[in-house]
Symmetry: C2
Subunit: 145 residues, 2 copies
Amino acid sequence: MTAGDPRARDTSVDTIQRELTAFARRARATAARLHPELPLVSYTLLAHIDDQQGCRATDLAGHYMLDKSTVSRQIAALEKLGLVERRPDPDDHRVQVLHPTDAGTETLAATQGSRRAAVRDRLADWSEEDLNRFADYLLRYNSAH
Amino acid sequence: MTAGDPRARDTSVDTIQRELTAFARRARATAARLHPELPLVSYTLLAHIDDQQGCRATDLAGHYMLDKSTVSRQIAALEKLGLVERRPDPDDHRVQVLHPTDAGTETLAATQGSRRAAVRDRLADWSEEDLNRFADYLLRYNSAH
DNA sequence: TCGAATGAGTTGTACTATACAACCAATACC
DNA sequence: GGTATTGGTTGTATAGTACAACTCATTCGA
């Protein structure tokens, strides 16, 4: 298989697809190990809400390609746990702006700590350049289309 | 943030974690769009079985960090669909060796075609070198520990 | 300016994915 | 030969998800 051979691309493409999928399949187990107290999806949405200070349910659904009903229930669960609060949007009464509560921010900080430690561990022997490039590739891949 | 600053590493690590998670959250929706006839996990396991010609349920559980009961049910579903068959292992009567049936191989080929096309599309403007490196990074990340 | 179309969110319902525990059967190891 | 281990199934419970039908608020067009 020489350089420029279309099969070389296909091999890489297949590997990328396979490895991304394997990662996705394992994500739940990893999350359960790292923060058994906070379900995986709840954690993800809470992190996004915190990151985007003041996002809407629809934004979450769009970002993660989830149905709005799914997000609605997830938010309800997070609210019940006291981790997220809804604020009415004065400009558009259909909208609820989501914010982490103090408890939410704390919980997130704690679990984010252990998550980051785990990922950092796993990436401990990577050069800074490789980390950077890997991060860029993922961003580029995810932002396509 | 200068080079060598530990925070530079953390930024990359956070991005990697965030983007991998985002990908994982979207995987189901993507799969549903690409092959509505074959549920995501079924597809993944079938692909692995095909790849590893003759693997055991336990191997699947190990590879994807799933409980053996989960795998057992998934295999049962694939068998019911006529996509996988179990062959007894003559050396160890506890073991069932899993193989794709002809129908399984066909189904896989069809869906794999559309999947690969989608990924290839999304990676169309990547240089071969970038593809290669991205694939390597993913392999390296997934094989850690 | 009113009625239709659109958009945000909720709720009913159903199904997939998953884990844990208890179990059975075959094998391996003293 | 008895005990521990391993591969797999089944019962049960829960998370995660989609789709459809709904409500309420907003916008837009005639």
